[in-house]
Amino acid sequence: MRFDKVWIVARKDMAELRTNKYVLYTLVFMPVIMAVVIPFSFLPVIYTGAFETSGEQVELDLTPSVTFADQKINRTMIVNATIENCTIRSSYIYASRIFNSTLLDTRVNGSELVNVSVVDVSVIRNSNLWNVDVSPSSTTVNCAYVDEDPNDVRIFVDIVLNSMILFFMMIPAVIPTVIASYSFVGEKTNKSLEPLLATPTTDGELLVGKSLSIFIPTMIATFISFVVFTIIIDVGTYPVLGFYPVPTPVWVYSIFVLGPLFAIMSIALNVYVSAKVTDVRASQQFGSLVIMPLVLLMVLAIMGIISLSIGYLLVFTLFVALIDVGIVYLSIKTFKREEILVRWK
């Protein structure tokens, strides 16, 4: 196989796809939904589910306008502030957020405390306490305790995040059905396949070139989406979790191994479907069958039959790889000059 020919075909197809607004919408909207909308909808689940709450959480109206970081604060009154990594002594704090700090002989009211140690005769009122350690000499009045169980939190967060993988795998599975329908059926309906087949290229070079032009943008969209997703999840959860929950090995494995396998399955299925249908929409409808293995995995995970651990994913990968081999074989058999000109509808 001559890769210069493959790359010429791939570049031409990508240039054509760049001018197709339907392809561009798909390449932008789907990753944005997965990278932005899904994390934001899952963040509250992580916030609440990772912690055990005792007492009614207090409605707080916090609008911090000033930040104190890495300081020793003494005999001070602070209102509407964000306080991080500070040691606060003999002070009064109202309507503020306090992170990773120590309070000594301090009064707090209407605030949120996260990872804070309360010692010496301090008093906390009307506040929400996330993972706060209160010494016996101190008191709390009308406060809600939200405590993490150090052993369970990681497991809970992993379960929640792993369930998002299945949504995420929709990107490499679904985007190729849209692009491939234009690339293969589009070229067929445009009758541009015949002059292309008359060039001194092999069937394999044309097939791989056209497939690459679908695979490359799909995987770029998947990777960018994953990076944005990781940033949003990590930035959004670090203050309450104290660690960065993604990327995990399961995520990395899914993005770099399962993702490409789904993309290949989707592309190959579309090549096969192209021979049977005569318009782009029909091709997209048939092509969407590719999400069936994904739905199967979702059902098994929801029913609790499997968990999304590396072990199960390896088995699932084998299953997807076997389907890939079958469909790729069919697509190679389908994408031959003689077949295209004689048997394609």
Binding site: I8, E16, A198, T199, P200, E338, V342
Partner: protein
Amino acid sequence: MIRTEELTRTFNGTVAVDSLSLEVSEGEVFGFIGPNGAGKTTTVRILCCLIGPTSGRAFIGENECGREPDSMNIRQMVGLLPESPGLYERLSAYRNLDFYGQLYGVKDGERAERIKELLTTLKIWKRKDEAISTFSKGMRQKIAIARALVHKPRLLFLDEPTAGLDPEAARTVRRFILNLKKEGGTIFLNTHNLHEAERLCDRIGVLNTRLIAVGSPEELARRYWGRTTALRVKMLTPRIAEAVKSLDFVGNVQEQDGELLISLDDPDERNPAIAKAVMENGGEIQSISEFKRGLEEVYLKLIGGST
């Protein structure tokens, strides 16, 4: 340049091309005419190594169609204009040609020069950066022809090059083909347009699954109609017509627009005797010449229609 030996192709038991044996020389413009479904496009596809024959063999130069690596060599040697232009609508005219130039392995600088030369000749250079979707049907056909020529093929296959074009666009395309002919290119032309075939082709093959006849337009007319003398007489009377018909060497005699069309084996030898018979019967000859039958009449006679 092209040689086929008993070339046959069937599709699900239906014969598309039946035992086609043919030779086309280098520098020749060869036309294939025949009704729809006669096997013209199938023949071109076999010769361009797009599909294989069911039986028989076909050669382009020394390369055999359907055999590797010969097929790859053939695709490099030939240019194809299929029935539909099949251009990339979203890409510019230049990008379309550039893509094919790259696939045919034309070097960068040479490719740019060649594209400029072709688009300038076809008067499209100013619109080279516009998307094909903005072009008229005639312009698309010109781009498709340029695409077939971008790698300077030794053999050009044109499948219905003027089908569906308006008269002006069709004339431009025909002129372009005539120029290619003058430059000595070998062209294989499939067409329904008999006047076009007559004007452009050195030899014509009449195909209706089987090859019915091959020859130059004049040869075909002579072979299937014999030679015809057109005789114009000042006052054509039944007596004169009868006198001509009664000559034993005369075949068919037709009266058309005041002329007598007389089928003969050898007009050069027999015309004086005809003139003598006319004058003896009181006729005054205005003109006597050879009547040339058009390809259309030959075609209809061969394909089974009536003239």
